[in-house]
């Protein structure tokens, strides 16, 4: 063993993120002091990021199966049956820590990484989405982070030619030191051409393709498993640098190779690079693997084994190939001007053996590396009861409140962001960002449409993690339903603070319980996901600030006949109907925060039976062709939902008075769940009768017509005026 660089001991292990107990376990497995490279392998494989040691116990409780689920969690991405012999492959993943340190590259490589998770399974990526949380607009660094993240997502996605079709953005001071960048990719593959990562075939060559290995991103996975301190920005060298041009070539080359029968197994090199890809592929296949690092294409001279094994250089893949097909494969990668190198082979030893310059640098048994990985049942503290809502009054009146809310940071038009993302490349984008509750992308050469959305309401999750978790699932399901699509499955990206703090762990467990309950009730299983913990920043005074609990969900639904989708834009005439029960819940509402300046009260109840009944009814009506537009009622309640429909097309409507016996602001801005605004032709009587028959609450909300949102007082707020208020926030923040 040659590891002269640094003495390996418990101190170095701690520096690498391993606890004393974990290091003892390493010593027991190895029966000797590990080499530096071996310690590096253990530390990244046992990092929170790679091992899910704090979350695994709870992730197991989530529902992951359904008749249409082909592969659930455990593969690079989730796979569901979308009909006609095709599968949708999708996943969402965080790149939070790198995006704070280096916003452009952090976000760009987040997109690159999630793309690879999807095309490694044989899918052509057809859509990207994202879920972004930024600090307060008043915090100076927020502007810089928004700018870098948006440029990074666009810079990468636009170049690889995958349309960015949707996403969500929130601002809150809790993200000041720790923005969240969650990126989602959806791809489509033939069900009989799906590629998995379990290695097989003793003696089969292990091939490295893509970019060369450099010294970037070393220990990135470990960085992502710790809180930030005041020196966070000095960690810039741990952030990887993306090259979307190479990624585009890699997509085309891999898909071309996948059309042959050369591949036994394939996996991208993501977090912990060569280490995690080789360990996971061999481990899943129950085989050993020998790597010869001299054969690894290298960008820099004199890289050590430790550096190569830990590098997170981007745009690389590891493939186990049929030996007789090696030259066919090599020719394809040479055509695309990418590196191709046989760097090892599979063995029957059950060990990973790493050789470099004639020395064995690592020799680790794979079974104990995986099986004895730490798993923690972290303690939880009882969650604090939500604060009382407090005194409710209406300081502004309906019209002023409306104008204020359509322009507030969490509702304001996101066009400034969307307009930097290519949303049409591929020629299959049926509903672009802002056109419908979920983006709609047609599957080329079929009648199928995919409905895609990302959702989470972090303020609900903080007040009540369980309700918040359930609400995020319900909203994703509802957004898909509102386009007429059938919700199929969901990917989760669980962003939380430090799980070693019982109150944070309680948030995590509560959210998982809510998510699981809602997924079961709505037949909407979790098929892939990612956990990002330690989203906290250490303040100069020694305390730490955690983000709001943010379990972001990425939902996928299918339209068998994509022409039967509806958008959210108000039509020229007809009747607007409110579906679902309005109780006037103002706790944690946007209205309460923006108008009264309070984040108090409990999150709204999520009645999953009503959610399902209302949604199934709305979808049935859309499919039958009587619905001209549909929009779910979420942030800001009924009045904001109606305003959004008006702003989308410029067509107006005249609102009916609120329900009697309820404060007007509770009716207009309450955020009760399970509700939709549905635009139908004529007076809506047929629709109301059908709703009554189905046991679904429904009432006329407005007569559609004109170019104003007409309030019950008779005040006319023109679509143009709403749009001016709606459009101002982002340009004012970013282009000043």
């Amino acid at each position: 063993m040659s590891s002269k660089q640094k003495a390996v001991n418990a101190d170095l292990a701690r520096e690498f993120g391993l606890s004393a107990e974990e290091y003892d376990r390493v010593l027991a497995i190895m029966g000797r002091t590990p080499s530096l490279t071996e310690l590096g392998v253990f530390s990244v494989m046992w990092s929170e990021h790679c091992s899910y040691k704090s979350s695994r116990k709870w992730l197991r409780t989530l529902p992951t199966t359904a008749p249409w689920v082909i592969h659930g969690p455990g593969e690079n991405a989730g796979v569901v049956d979308i009909g006609q012999g095709l599968a949708a492959i999708f996943k969402m993943e965080s790149h939070n820590h790198p995006s704070f340190i280096e916003p452009y590259q952090g976000a760009a490589t987040g997109v690159g990484g999630i793309l690879r998770d999807v095309f490694t399974m044989g899918a052509r990526p057809v859509a990207n989405l994202n879920a972004l949380r930024f600090g307060s607009p008043e915090t100076p660094r927020t502007r810089q982070i928004v700018d870098g993240v948006v440029r990074g997502i666009g810079g990468y996605g636009n170049c690889v030619g995958v349309p960015t079709v949707g996403g969500e953005v929130n601002f809150h001071p809790a993200y000041d030191g720790n923005p969240l960048v969650n990126a989602m990719t959806v791809g489509v593959a033939r069900q009989d051409k799906i590629f998995l990562s379990a290695a097989a075939g003793i003696g089969n060559p292990v091939v490295y393709v893509g970019s060369k290995t450099g010294r970037d991103g070393i220990h990135g996975a470990t960085m992502s498993s710790a809180e930030f301190d005041e020196n966070a920005l000095a960690k810039r060298p741990t952030v990887q640098v993306g090259d979307p041009f190479v990624e585009k070539l890699l997509i085309e080359a891999c898909l071309e190779l996948m059309a042959t029968d050369a591949i036994v197994a394939i996996q991208d090199m993501g977090a912990a690079g060569l280490t995690s890809s080789s360990v996971e592929m061999a481990g899943k296949g129950g085989v050993g693997i020998d790597l010869d690092l001299d054969a690894v294409p290298q960008r820099e001279p004199n890289m050590t084994a430790y550096e190569m094994m830990l590098s997170e250089s981007q745009e690389r893949m590891l493939i186990v190939i049929k030996p007789e097909r090696t030259e066919v494969a090599r020719a394809i990668f040479e055509k695309w001007e990418l590196d191709f190198a046989v760097i090892g082979h599979l063995t029957d030893t059950g060990n990973i053996v790493v050789r470099h310059k004639g020395q064995v640098e690592a020799d680790i048994p794979l079974d104990p590396l995986a099986e004895q990985a730490p798993i923690y049942d972290r303690p939880t503290a009882p969650l604090p009861a939500p604060e009382p809502v407090g005194d409710i009054h209406d300081p502004l009146g309906l019209e002023q409140t409306l104008i204020r809310l359509v322009g507030c940071p969490d509702v304001a038009s996101r066009a400034w962001i969307w307009n930097q993302y290519d949303s049409t490349v591929g020629g299959q984008t049926v509903r672009r960002p802002g056109g419908a509750d979920a983006a709609i992308v047609k599957v080329e050469d079929t009648s199928i449409g995919l409905a895609l959305t990302t959702d989470c309401t972090p303020r609900y999750c903080r007040a009540n993690p369980k309700k918040g978790g359930a609400q995020a699932v319900a909203e994703a399901w509802r957004n898909i339903t509102a386009t007429g699509a059938r919700p199929l499955a969901v990917t989760d990206n669980l962003n939380f603070g430090n799980p070693e703090k019982p109150e944070i762990m309680a948030q995590f467990v509560g959210a998982i319980e809510g998510i699981g309950e809602a997924c079961r009730a709505l037949d909407f299983p979790i098929v892939s996901g990612n956990v990002s913990l330690y989203n906290e920043t250490r303040n100069p005074d020694g305390t730490t600030s955690a983000i709001l609990p943010t379990p972001a969900l990425g939902g996928l639904g299918v339209l068998d006949d994509v022409t039967k989708n509806v958008g959210l834009g108000m039509p020229e005439n007809g009747t607007l109907i409110l579906v679902g029960e309005t109780k006037g819940h103002l706790g944690q509402s946007l209205w309460l925060r923006e108008i009264l300046g309070r984040e108090t009260g409990d999150a709204p109840d999520v009645d999953l039976a009503a959610e399902r009944r209302n949604g199934d009814f709305v979808r049935e009506q859309i499919t039958s062709g009587v619905v001209k537009a549909c929009h779910d009622v979420s942030d800001g309640g009924i009045l904001i939902a109606a305003a959004e429909m008006v702003m989308a097309t410029g067509n107006g409507c005249e609102l009916e008075p609120p329900q009697s016996g309820m404060r007007p602001e509770a009716f207009w801005f309450g955020e009760d769940q399970g509700r939709y605004l549905v635009a139908v032709e004529g007076d809506g009587k047929t629709f109301l009768a059908a709703a009554e028959k189905a046991g679904v609450p429904a009432r006329v909300a407005a007569a559609i017509g004109g170019d104003c949102l007409v309030l019950p007082s008779g005040a006319r707020v023109s679509a143009a005026r709403l749009n001016v208020a709606h459009a101002a926030f982002f340009p004012a923040l970013m282009d000043r």
Binding site: C159, F245, G427
Partner: protein
């Protein structure tokens, strides 16, 4: 009409273009590889959008030196028809087949949005299905679409009626200083230009992405129908 679409490393709108061409001709165009050293018999060569060679160095600069470009130059000299869209337009200016250059957008940000184009010359193989002054909607998606040319070139383009399309407001009003209608800040609001023989057209926006009502409209279709009308023998 026999059409061929050239794929360079980094090209990413070849499928969109193939769909649009197939929609009007009924059959799929040929896909050509940047290393090809001869062209099949073709009526139309299309250089589609994307990021050839990652837009590194300068947009289109490296693609302009691909082996196939020698053949495309010869094709042009023989009077062949060429359409370059977005990155394809950038490549045509880099090869010198069209004059001028495309710089960073005036706002220094990538732009992806709908714009409106006014047809300035309807007597070309690319525009004959429109009338002069017609306005149509089309998506654009680029970081470097700000057309520039020296004063003499601009005068030539204007004098020889070689501006095919200008960015305009939906009502047809053209104002080069107005960022709402001329989003990338192009000189004289120029969105597309023609060669002296009107057989080569370069434009930044993507009419190929608006040829199906399901995707929001068919406003881009007349361009492809014009080509079919002009080139089907």
């Amino acid at each position: 009409m026999k059409a061929g679409i050239v794929v360079f490393p980094g090209t990413n709108r070849e499928r969109d273009m193939a769909i649009a061409l197939k929609a009007v001709t009924g059959h799929a165009p040929k896909i050509l590889w940047h290393r090809d050293t001869e062209l099949p018999e073709l009526d139309l060569v299309v250089l589609p959008g994307g990021f050839s060679y990652g837009d590194y160095l300068r947009c289109g600069a490296m693609a302009a030196h691909s082996p196939i470009m020698r053949e495309i130059r010869a094709f042009a000299e023989k009077g062949g028809h060429i359409l370059g869209v977005c990155n394809g337009f950038q490549i045509l200016t880099e090869t010198g087949l069209l004059p001028g250059a495309l710089l960073r957008n005036a706002g220094l940000r990538f732009l992806s949005q709908d714009c409106h184009l006014r047809v300035e010359n309807s007597e070309t193989p690319f525009t004959r299905r429109w009338k002069k002054g017609d306005v149509f909607r089309t998506p654009l998606a680029h970081g470097d679409g700000n057309y520039v040319a020296d004063a003499e070139t601009l005068k030539t383009l204007q004098g020889e009626n070689r501006v095919a399309f200008r960015y305009a407001a939906p009502n047809g009003k053209m104002d080069a200083a107005d960022r709402d209608s001329n989003p990338n800040g192009s000189l004289d609001a120029i969105a597309g230009i023609l060669s002296a023989n009107s057989r080569i057209c370069g434009m930044m926006p993507h009419p190929e992405d608006l040829v199906d009502p399901l995707m929001g409209g068919e406003d881009g279709k007349p361009l492809f129908e014009s080509l079919v009308e002009a080139l089907v023998r």
